[in-house]
C-alpha cells in the first residue's frame, strides 16, 4: 500500500493501485475479482471474513474509513472508492472504455 500511485502492468500502461475488500463467500465480490481478472488488471484483495482477532478489527476499521457501512465489495481504485460490483464505475475509474 505504500507504493506510488501507479504501477506498470505487463502491457506497459499505467494503472492505479486496485484493492478489493471482499468476503470469500460473496457473489458480488467474486464477480468483481473475475471482471478485473478478465480486464487483466492487477489487484490486491483482502477477504475480511477469513481474518481473525486484531487483524480483522484493524481491517474493518480501514474498510469503514472508505465505506462507513462496511459492505462488500469495497473497491479502491487509486483515490476512488466504489461500493458494490459496479462494472461501469470500475471501468471509468480504470480509464477503460
Amino acid at each position: 500500500m505504500s507504493e506510488p500511485d501507479t504501477k506498470t502492468p505487463p502491457d506497459g500502461k499505467n494503472q492505479p493501485d486496485v484493492t478489493i475488500y471482499s468476503l470469500s463467500t460473496c457473489s458480488h465480490c467474486k464477480a468483481t475479482k473475475k471482471f478485473l481478472g478478465e480486464c487483466t488488471i492487477k489487484y490486491e484483495f483482502i477477504d475480511v471474513d477469513l481474518l481473525e482477532g486484531d487483524e480483522r478489527k484493524a481491517i474493518i476499521e480501514d474498510v469503514k474509513k472508505f465505506n462507513p457501512r462496511c459492505s462488500f465489495p469495497t473497491v479502491i481504485i487509486g483515490d476512488k472508492v466504489i461500493v458494490g460490483y459496479k462494472e461501469q464505475e470500475i471501468k471509468e475509474a480504470l480509464g477503460l472504455k
Binding site: 457473489s27 471474513d49 469503514k64
Partner: protein, 110 residues
Amino acid sequence: MNAQQLYDMMKKVQEAKGYFFNTDRERVMELLESLLLNKQRYGYMGCPCRLLSGNRDQDRDIICPCVYSVPDIAEFGSCYCNLYVSKEWNEGKIPRDYVPERRPPEKMPF
C-alpha cells in the same frame, strides 16, 4: 445436506411465497455452497454477501432469507445477493440494478 438438497428444499418454500431462485444456476449453487459453509463455520446460514458476527442473535436479521429480501425484492426485484428474485427479474422485464445495502448501520456490530 448438500447444495442441491438445499436448493430443492428452498425452492419449494420460496416459490410458494412468490420468490424464485435466480436462473443463473452457477451463481445460485455457489451462493448455496457459501450458505452451507457459513452454517458449518458459525452454526447458522448467515447471508454470504455480508460480514457475519458469529453471533446468531446479532445476525438474526441476516439469516437467509434475510428480512431485507422482502422489501428488496419488492423494490428491485432481487435480494441483496441476487439469490432470490422475482419472476419479472428472471424474465428480464425489469432492470437488474445493483441492490444497495438496506441493513441499517446500527445493526452492524462492527
